[in-house]
Symmetry: C2
Subunit: 242 residues, 2 copies
DNA sequence: GCGGAAGCTATCGGATCTGATAGGGGTATG
DNA sequence: CATACCCCTATCAGATCCGATAGCTTCCGC
């Protein structure tokens, strides 16, 4: 089952939380962009830390989890934890869903009827999640959500973060002091503007914009405007909204 | 001071947590890429919900918070909450810092001597944070961190998320079913590869790669390869690591 | 005053992306 | 068996980016 490593401890905690809430099926994913399972210290899938022998558990093993799934769409778009109950979705704040997605959520006969899901966003634009699901018949998760979502979210974040550190190691953190102008240019680049457009907006010549971008690329240690903009966004210098 | 809105309630909670831990100065930022202060329902800065009248509090008002700051560099790079104590930094896992940044952290004579900081990552690559700082003399935050970081992190996440929803509204969530090929192309594009490079890697013709990218752009409702790749990364289809 | 950094501008050619347009083959679902 | 969708390929011209290289002013701290 597990040793007594930190990861195993955290996994145990997740499992116990689920059991005590009547949501014994626990599924975790440290990076939904990757098909590879989350691994522990010994290189074994952390899934082995949980109970995946029950009938409904077969659902989680299907690769289909990764695509065309209403739940994953919600994970991709929501920051807060949320619950899922026979097609209905709720969170701390109202969740707006397109009719198409809602239809899909209702129509698909999931083996899982109710669940609490915690999306986890890590540095480097990594997206993970922890799902606590009921086994067989549904459970009214709304009161459970109200009472426990905050703690579950915290536990999920800590667990996924531990998995991530294990997989990728701790990065060396440096201070990259971007200039005001560099940040201005980066924001506009990230907005999809052309160098000449940016020049017009900022009242500069086009070569100047390129100059600033080159400086920014060097400081962020990236090549190409795409990578540079991406890194600036990851680090929070630039927002992608508006 | 505040009404009885949800945001005010959450802010009150943050403040009370800080007080009971001996970290009465609370600073929040819902988006570190923006200079604008976080606003509440009535369009007033949420800072008014906290106590910013103390001497040390002046520090937080300086715009310098946003640039050239060791603490912000940590917020940008860390997913877990962390503590800060006279230049020393710690978290649940070891934090690697370049000598340069460490030097900066020690040398700068912060008015704030000890603090617990919770970075918050939201959808759309938004980065926020909540800081609980001591007032005047330092506090040994290590035991406090061990005991309370998980809860503080959860509270911070919920508060910042509420601010964010308030500022930008709830997005309508849709399912965008990207194809396997489209995702493959997006991953390589996000890695900075050229269309022809991608074609070679995937064993395709260059026009085919462009075809898939165009499809992906349409599905993600973005224009240009930069925006498209960015959106795919945000939604967790693509990871930026390796 | 001098070094250093920010900020600004310019030119060049080659590599690359972009939009518009036009197909054909394969497979699943009704 | 028809429709839809994925997957693949092609061509064209124009817009855009990229690397290398060179020079300018201004402001700051030592």
């Amino acid at each position: 089952m597990a040793g007594n490593s930190e990861l195993a401890q955290l996994a145990l905690q997740l499992r116990e939380e689920g059991r005590s809430l009547g949501l014994p099926l626990v599924a975790t994913c440290a990076d939904i962009s990757s098909a590879r399972p989350t691994l522990d210290e010994r290189g074994e899938p952390v899934a082995s830390l949980f109970d995946f022998t029950r009938p409904a558990a077969g659902y989680w093993k299907k690769g289909d989890l990764a695509l065309r799934n209403a739940m994953v769409a919600l994970i991709r778009n929501l920051g807060d934890p949320f619950y899922y109950m026979d097609g209905a979705v709720g969170s701390w704040r109202p969740v707006k869903v397109t009719p198409r997605l809602e239809e899909l959520g209702r129509s698909v006969n999931y083996a899982v009827r109710s669940a609490i899901i915690a999306p986890v966003r890590l540095p480097r634009s990594t997206l993970g999640a922890v799902v606590w699901a009921s086994d067989g018949e549904g459970v009214d998760v709304r009161p459970l959500f109200e009472a426990h979502a905050l703690r579950l979210h915290g536990l999920a974040a800590r667990f996924i973060s531990a998995c991530d550190t294990l997989a990728h190691g701790a990065p060396e953190i440096d201070l990259c002091a971007l200039t005001r102008r560099e940040v201005q240019c980066l924001k506009l680049v990230a907005a999809g503007k052309t160098d000449s457009e940016i020049a017009t907006i900022l009242g500069l010549a086009t070569p100047t914009v390129r100059f600033h971008m080159k400086k920014a690329s060097a400081k962020l240690e990236e090549n190409g405007r795409l990578r540079t903009a991406q890194r600036a966004i990851e680090l929070g210098y630039v927002s992608t909204r508006l």
